[in-house]
C-alpha cells in the first residue's frame, strides 16, 4: 500500500516512513548544526563516550594501583612532575589521569541509568495521568507535588541515608527526584494531543487505550521529553558527583569524580591538582551535555524555529 502511494505520488506531503524519517533527521540536523555550541558539545560528548568505552586501552595505569613512592606528584609541566604521570598522582600515589579516564565510565553510566529510569517511569505515570484524568490524575499529581516540595539533593541525601550509601542507591534516589518533571511534561503533552482529530480517528478505528497511549499519542510528545532528558542527564551527573562528594554516593576507592574530590579535600592547599582535575572533568562533561541540550531545544522547538 505504502509503495504504491510513493510510486504514483510525487508531492512532498506523502512519503514512505523511511523517507519521511530521513527528511526529519535532515531537517533536525540543519537546525541543530546552526548552533555552533551544540556541535562542539556533541563532539566533546562523543569523545567522552569513546574515552569511557576504550578506557582500558587509553589509561596509562590501573586506576587502583598505588605507587607508594610517587605520592602527590605534581603534573608533568610543573617542577618535579613526571611523563609517567601526566596529571600527577593523588595522596596515595594513584595516577590521576587514569582515574579520570575510568571516571568517565561512571559518569556516563550514571547519566544513562538515571535518565532511562526517570524517563521511562515518568512517561508511564504521565501517560496514565494525562489519559485517564479524574482521581488517578489528582493522586499522581499530588504525589509529584510532594516530591517537588523537597530540594532534590536533600531528598536524594535522605533517601541514600535510608537505603545505605552506595552508587546504586544514589542513582535510584536521583532518578526519583528527577521523575516528576517527566510526569508533568508527558501529562501536559498527552492532554493537549488527546483531543486532536487523529486521536479520535484512531479511537473510532478501534484502537485500545494501550495502543492509543503508546503508538498514537506518545510519538507526538517526544520533543519536550528529549530536551528534558538531556537536562536530566547533566543533572544526574552533577547530583551523583555531589552525593559522592558528601560521601554518600560511590564509595572509595571507586574513581568516581565526586568521590575523588571528597578524598582530595584535605589536600587543597598543598596539592591543587588533586582537586582541580576531577572537578574540571565534571564541568566539561556537564557543559558539553548542556550545550547539546540547548541545540536540541532550538532544533526541536517549532516555536523557536520560526523566529
Amino acid at each position: 500500500m505504502a509503495d504504491t502511494i510513493t510510486d504514483i505520488d510525487n508531492s512532498p506531503e506523502v512519503l514512505s516512513t523511511g523517507a519521511l524519517r530521513r527528511r526529519m533527521l535532515k531537517e533536525f540536523w540543519f537546525y541543530f548544526s546552526e548552533n555552533r555550541g551544540a556541535v562542539i558539545g556533541l563532539f566533546v560528548f562523543i569523545a567522552l563516550v569513546l574515552v569511557a568505552v576504550f578506557a582500558p586501552l587509553i589509561a596509562p595505569h590501573s586506576p587502583f594501583e598505588q605507587y607508594r613512592d610517587m605520592v602527590l606528584l605534581p603534573p608533568v609541566w610543573m617542577e618535579g612532575g613526571s611523563w609517567d604521570y601526566l596529571l600527577g598522582t593523588d595522596p596515595v600515589g594513584r595516577d590521576i589521569l587514569s582515574r579520570l579516564i575510568y571516571g568517565a565510565q561512571y559518569s556516563l553510566f550514571i547519566g544513562v541509568f538515571v535518565t532511562t529510569l526517570s524517563l521511562t517511569g515518568g512517561i508511564l505515570v504521565g501517560l496514565i495521568a494525562g489519559y485517564y484524568r479524574g482521581w488517578v490524575d489528582t493522586v499522581i499529581m499530588r504525589l509529584m507535588d510532594i516530591i517537588l516540595a523537597f530540594p532534590s539533593l536533600l531528598l536524594a541525601l535522605v533517601l541514600v541515608a535510608i537505603l545505605g550509601p552506595s552508587l546504586t542507591n544514589g542513582m535510584i534516589a536521583i532518578a526519583l527526584t528527577l521523575q516528576p518533571h517527566f510526569v508533568r511534561l508527558t501529562r501536559a503533552a498527552v492532554m493537549a494531543e488527546k483531543t486532536r482529530d487523529y486521536v479520535t480517528a484512531s479511537r473510532l478505528a478501534g484502537a485500545g487505550p494501550l495502543r492509543l497511549m503508546f503508538r498514537t499519542i506518545l510519538p507526538n510528545c517526544t520533543a519536550p521529553l528529549i530536551v528534558q532528558a538531556t537536562l536530566s542527564f547533566s543533572n544526574a551527573i552533577l547530583d551523583a558527583a555531589a552525593l559522592g562528594f558528601l560521601g554518600m554516593g560511590a564509595q572509595p576507592p571507586a574513581p568516581e569524580w565526586g568521590t575523588m574530590l571528597a578524598e582530595a579535600r584535605e589536600f587543597i592547599l598543598r596539592a591543587w591538582w588533586v582537586v582541580t582535575f576531577p572537578g574540571l572533568a565534571i564541568l566539561i562533561t556537564v557543559l558539553a551535555i548542556n550545550l547539546m541540550g540547548d541545540g536540541l531545544r532550538d532544533a526541536l522547538d517549532p516555536k523557536l524555529k520560526r523566529s
Partner: protein
C-alpha cells in the same frame, strides 16, 4: 485575589500532609528497630525496650502515632535530637538565620548582576558581550558548585590569603546574637573590625551559592527581554519618541520581569539545596550543614524534622511567589 489564595491553599494543604506522611514514615522504612533508632540506644533489655517504646508512643497503632506526630508538628514540637537531646525546633531556629543570611546575600548578588547583564545582552543581541555572557552563564549553570567552592578557597584563601576558609566570623570576636544575622550583629556589637570579619567570611560562600541562580536569572532575563522587545507596544513607545532608556527601563522591563520573578522564586528551593553543599565546604553553621551532619550521625529524628521544616519553608516561599505573581500579572488569577 482572595479566591486565588484559597485555591492555592487547597492544593498546599494536601501537599503538606503528604510531605508530613513521608517525613513520618521514613524512620519506619529504615532497616532496624525504630525504638532503637529513635532513642539512640543500641543495646537494651526487653523491659527497657518496652519502657522506651511506651515512652515514645511506639506501642500504639501507626495511625494514632502519625496523628500524634502531626499534632506535635502543628504545635511546634518536632521531637528531640538523639545526639544532643535538645528540641529539634530550637536547633533549627538557632541555625536558620545563618542560612537565611547566606541565601539572601547570594540571591541579592545574583539579582544585582544577573538582571542588568541579561538586559544588556538582550539589547545588544548577537554582540560579543551577548555571546560571551551567554557562554559564561552556561558554564555557571553547569558548574559543580562544591568544586567551584574549593577552587575559590585555593585562590582567595590559599594563594592570595584574602579570605578565611570557614565559619561565620573570626574567633577573636564574641557577642551575643541579637538578630541572628552576623552582618547586623557585628555592627550592633560596636567591636572594631567585627563587621569586616563577618563580611570576609560571607564573601566566598555567597559567590558560590549565587553562581547557579545568577546564571539562570541572566539567561531568563535575556530571553524574556528579547520576547518583550519584539512586541508592538514597545515599537509604539519607540515611535512616540521616548528615550531608549525609558523604553527599555520602564516599558519593556516591567513585563519582562514577570517570568523572571517566578524564576527567582523557584531558585529559593535550589538555594536551600545548594546550601547543603556550600555550607559543608565552608563549615557554615546553617541548616544545610546541620542536615548533612545529622545524616552522618544517624540522628534520625533530626533528619525527619529538618526534612519537614525545609519542605514547609519551600512550600511557603512558593506560595508567596505565586501570590506576588498573581498581584503583578492579573491574568494568572483566573
Amino acid at each position: 485575589m482572595f479566591g486565588f489564595l484559597l485555591r492555592r491553599l487547597a492544593v498546599l494543604i494536601p501537599t503538606f500532609i503528604g510531605v508530613s506522611i513521608i517525613a513520618f514514615s521514613f524512620i519506619r522504612l529504615l532497616p532496624g528497630d525504630p525504638v532503637a533508632l529513635l532513642s539512640g540506644e543500641r543495646v537494651m533489655s526487653p523491659e527497657r525496650h518496652a519502657q522506651i517504646s511506651a515512652q515514645l508512643g511506639l506501642d500504639r497503632p501507626v495511625v494514632v502515632q502519625y496523628l500524634d506526630y502531626l499534632g506535635g508538628v502543628l504545635t511546634g514540637d518536632f521531637g528531640s535530637s538523639i545526639v544532643s537531646k535538645s528540641p529539634i525546633l530550637d536547633q533549627f531556629l538557632a541555625l536558620f538565620p545563618a542560612t537565611v543570611e547566606l541565601s539572601l546575600c547570594a540571591i541579592i548578588l545574583a539579582i544585582l548582576i544577573g538582571i542588568p547583564a541579561g538586559v544588556i545582552a538582550a539589547i545588544k543581541r548577537g554582540s560579543i558581550f551577548d555571546q560571551s555572557l551567554m557562554g559564561v552563564a552556561l558554564v555557571g549553570y553547569s558548574m559543580p558548585i562544591f568544586w567551584w567552592g574549593l577552587l575559590l578557597i585555593i585562590l582567595f584563601s590559599g594563594i592570595l590569603q584574602w579570605t578565611p576558609v570557614s565559619g561565620r566570623i573570626s574567633l577573636m570576636f564574641f557577642f551575643p546574637p541579637v538578630t541572628g544575622f552576623m552582618l547586623i550583629d557585628s555592627l550592633l556589637s560596636g567591636q572594631k573590625g567585627a563587621f569586616i570579619s563577618a563580611l570576609s567570611h560571607l564573601a566566598l560562600p555567597s559567590i558560590v551559592l549565587a553562581t547557579i541562580p545568577l546564571a539562570v536569572i541572566a539567561r531568563q532575563t535575556r530571553s524574556a527581554m528579547l520576547e518583550v522587545l519584539s512586541e508592538d507596544y514597545v515599537r509604539t513607545a519607540r515611535a512616540k519618541g521616548l528615550s531608549p532608556f525609558r523604553v527599555v527601563g520602564v516599558h519593556a522591563l516591567r513585563n519582562a520581569m514577570i517570568p523572571v520573578i517566578t524564576t527567582i522564586g523557584l531558585q529559593i528551593g535550589v538555594m536551600l539545596a545548594g546550601a547543603i553543599l556550600t555550607e559543608t565546604i565552608f563549615s557554615w553553621p546553617g541548616i544545610g550543614k546541620w542536615m548533612v551532619d545529622s545524616v552522618f550521625r544517624r540522628d534520625y529524628p533530626v533528619i525527619q524534622g529538618g526534612l519537614l521544616l525545609i519542605a514547609g519553608i519551600i512550600m511557603i516561599v512558593n506560595l508567596i511567589v505565586d501570590l506576588l505573581y498573581g498581584l503583578i500579572n492579573p491574568r494568572i488569577r483566573h
